[in-house]
Amino acid sequence: MTILTVALKDLRGRFVASALTAVSLMLGVSLVIASVLIARGIKESFTEGTTDYSLVVGAKGSPTQLVLNVVFRMDVPTPNILYGTYRQLRDDPRVEVAVPVALGDAYQGFRFVATTGGYFAAFPWRRKVFEVSVGRFFRDDAPEQPTYEAVLGAEAARRTGLRIGDRFYEGEELAEYPLTVVGILRSTGTADDRAIFFSLASFWETNEISRKMRVKPLTAILVRARRMSDLPSLHRGLNVSAETQAVFPSAVLLGIFNLLSLAEEVLTVILATVAIVMLLYLFVSLYSATLERKREIATMRALGASRATILGIVLLESCALASLGGAAGILGGHGVAYLGASLLAARGGLVMNLFRMSALEPVVIGSVILLGALAGLLPAVLAYRTDVAENLAPLS
């Protein structure tokens, strides 16, 4: 038997109180972990999921809405622009690459993204690589000859269960234009994992309004300038137009991050309050347990336990409770963060990788144990100073 086993048995002896204290610690730590993971995940998914293109061109309106919708598939789509804008940009000598994008409805919650093969093309400046894990990319069919071929993002394929060769459609009105799965993408860790891609010609044909339009609609155009020095003039030219706006995705992200940092500051205050409440709860729990156990402490002292041993037992109890609550809180926090991330991913296009190794967990568990030891210090000193003879007296 060691003082650790004595401490653990003492905790087991007051199972309900110990369990409640550990659960409250777990809830507090879960809240801290989940909040930090989600805040960090949102930031990272914005950073990693952003486009490599220098400009996003869309209809006049909110720049944030345009970027959130086109790049992250969040928010509601912006109004349409004309396909002619794409042709002008494609032929502009200042533009290296222009990729048209039209966002449609969704199939089982996975957004239809109509585009060209250029969307998936690899360029030296592109970090994101598109590869099919099975099948192939859809063909860039001619406007009057849609093939209705679809390529699914990895998550969309997994969740819908669609496989190569499967035909599918959303809603009765589209029953006569079923799409056929020809490829499934490897995971990119971005909103594209949750998209269903197909050609513009197929999109225009399946959409009743665009089918009737002589000049076909687009949602946005992704533009890469040939030179950095061309960007200001392109940006200006597109923004003076009455119909279009050009947005720097990086500038929009900066604005989002500024908003997030404000939220993070508020979150930090809330989390610090949670930590203090946790600390107080642990302290009160251990303090009252020590008061209740004065007789047992006096008995241990009478059996030969030194004051240091008693101090060690109470501190170990405190640290054991903190470790247990902390470890369970880290697991619980990851669980809550996973649920939160799934919810965000389902509602928007933020794909978070929450389970990468980081310093967060060791730092949190270390801090919780340290705080636990701190909370246990006063009860431990109280136990240390217990008067043996006084507390051994028979109870009246």
Binding site: M1, I3, K9, M300, L303, G304, S306
Partner: protein
């Protein structure tokens, strides 16, 4: 010829309790008293006459206001507190009136706990020794029971086994049978005395029980050794 030291020797021992405002209550004043090794002494006296205080002083859990107390020729209050704690664990067994078993621990663990504090028996031996001594007091089948699942007689047997776990030469017992019915008290006492006599231990028991008084080598009325037992005095002490 080898010198034989008394098991316990008190010289000029006084104990007073502060009452505040510089006043204190003198509870004990024992100019000199000794217990020979291997003796069985019953301490009697009226309630509040300082019997438990005397036991606590000999056990070293309460510090005398004046005087010296030697146990097997060791002046226990000359030892620094951690060493006194260790000395108590190894040399003095204490049986309480209300057993004072630790409720979170089984009978076996209560006994082993005492060995852990003494650190006098090798860890691998502690369990064997605890089982042996619990079996000796008739609790071989109750090792894994917690105190609340034992009868009062069984609880006191565990307390006795715990006091004897480190094979201490001196055993102190404060009204060990007071919480038991007459039949159980007789059984427990018989086992307790048998185990102590087998081990040649010095036994000091506070009791008013006739059976205990009859079994003692000597019966000492505390009023004979404590000059303040019959007149608790309030005074000023420096």
């Amino acid at each position: 010829m080898a010198q034989t030291w008394p098991a316990v020797a008190l010289h000029g021992v006084k104990k007073w309790f502060p009452l505040g405002n510089g006043r204190s209550l003198e509870a004990l004043n024992v100019p000199a008293w000794a217990l020979s090794a291997g003796s069985y002494t019953v301490l009697t006296g009226p309630s509040g006459s300082g019997k438990t205080t005397l036991l606590n002083l000999i056990a070293g859990v309460s510090v005398p206001s004046a005087g010296t107390i030697s146990v097997h020729d060791t002046d226990i209050f000359a030892l620094p507190e951690p060493r006194r704690d260790r000395f108590r664990a190894r040399h003095i067994g204490y049986v309480f009136q209300t057993f004072n078993l630790l409720s979170a621990f089984t009978a076996l663990e209560n006994v082993m706990l005492s060995m852990m504090f003494a650190d006098a028996i090798a860890k691998r031996e502690q369990r064997r020794r605890a089982v042996e001594i619990l079996s000796r007091v008739g609790l071989g089948a109750r090792l894994s029971h917690k105190p609340q699942h034992l009868s009062r007689g069984e609880q006191q047997r565990v307390a006795i086994a715990r006091a004897l776990a480190n094979n201490p030469p001196l055993v102190l017992a404060d009204e060990p049978c007071a919480s038991l019915d007459a039949d159980t008290a007789r059984e427990v006492l018989a086992e307790f005395l048998a185990v102590c006599r087998e081990g040649g231990k010095t036994l000091l028991i506070v009791s008013h029980d006739a059976a205990v008084l009859d079994a003692g080598d000597q019966v000492v009325d505390i009023t004979r050794i404590n000059h303040h037992a019959h007149r608790m005095s309030v005074g000023e002490h420096s």
